[in-house]
Amino acid sequence: MSAGPDTPAALWRRNLPVWAALMALLALSAWAAYWPFKTLNTVTGFAIAGAKAGLVLLVFMQLRRASGLVRLAAACGLFWAAILFTLTLADVLSRLAGG
């Protein structure tokens, strides 16, 4: 599927840096939970989860090199989930704001 030498070492060289980045993000995430803020800690935790998901999706799940059809199928799940979250949270947050 990709260019480059086809050897086990080449595969490790491509995938190991991603794993190292995932581990670093996990460590950062655990550390950030103890920062003396509240909202910022939560935002950081979920932002790091999003970054980890991006790495897994693009590299391990090969979306980077996938066809348009496959990318569309993957995006559909997120698209409908986004609608689900937006409509429900619009209701929940407006009730809270209204007291």
Binding site: W12, M23, S29, A30, N41, T42, A53, V56, A74
Partner: protein
């Protein structure tokens, strides 16, 4: 997508009878591979919606009960949670290596070794989770009459915790079964995993189960740690 395999190899991997009206086995096999990838992604998108609904319930209750959710998050064991996240992320590395090795069709030992490592890491996750569950039960973190925390909405958190971690463990158990199946097939027949779309489909499912956990980690283990 991939380079066309040899005519004989492609014919051996074809799962459906293929009329020879249109194309030869190589083109048919390439289409079958694309179909398998497309099909599993549609299934994964439905899984995303299934877990998104659960995550949305959590979000709504957490917005309404921030203090109780912080207290409940503090009661979970972050050491087990972080260790299990590291185990699953590592299993995704070995699964990706197995899938890419099989896709190239060159490295049978690498593929089998990485499949075995993936299944072993999945089992290790379940063992750690078992120790964690035992501790949770001992600390009375099961919603009900003897629940440990004062705040009533903390029971909602732990209701979610038990539901979603058990559902995730079931998904992981299925994943371990699928990976083990490939391992046994690859062990018996040296050629069966080469360019086989089943490896990619299994790998994509495995990665999604990992991704669900990646989001559960900040939801279950990180709230309420500051101060």
């Amino acid at each position: 997508m991939s380079g066309a395999p040899g005519e004989a190899g492609a014919a051996a991997h074809l799962r459906e009878p293929w009329s020879e009206l249109e194309t030869g086995p190589a083109a048919a096999f390439a289409r079958q591979r694309d179909g398998a990838t497309f099909g599993i992604w549609i299934f994964l998108a439905s899984e995303v919606l299934f877990f998104a609904a659960l995550f949305l319930i959590y979000t709504a209750y957490r917005i309404a009960n921030p203090e109780a959710f912080a207290a409940a998050g503090r009661a979970t064991n972050i050491v087990y949670g972080t260790l299990n996240t590291a185990i699953l992320l590592t299993s995704s590395l070995t699964m990706a290596m197995a899938a890419q090795g099989a896709e190239k069709g060159l490295f049978r030992r690498l593929t089998l070794g990485c499949l075995a490592a993936t299944a072993a890491l999945g089992l290790a996750f379940l063992v750690v989770k078992g120790f964690e569950y035992r501790e949770d039960i001992e600390k009375h973190l099961v919603p009900g009459a003897h629940f440990a925390l004062r705040q009533a909405p903390a029971q909602i958190f732990f209701g979610f915790y038990w539901l979603v971690t058990v559902v995730h463990a079931i998904h992981l158990g299925i994943g371990i079964g699928l990976v083990t199946r490939l391992l046994v097939k690859g062990w018996r027949d040296p050629d069966v995993l080469t360019e086989n779309p089943q490896v990619e489909v299994t790998a994509l499912y495995w990665h999604l189960v990992d991704l669900v956990w990646v989001f559960l980690y900040p939801m279950l283990y990180l709230p309420g740690r500051a101060g």
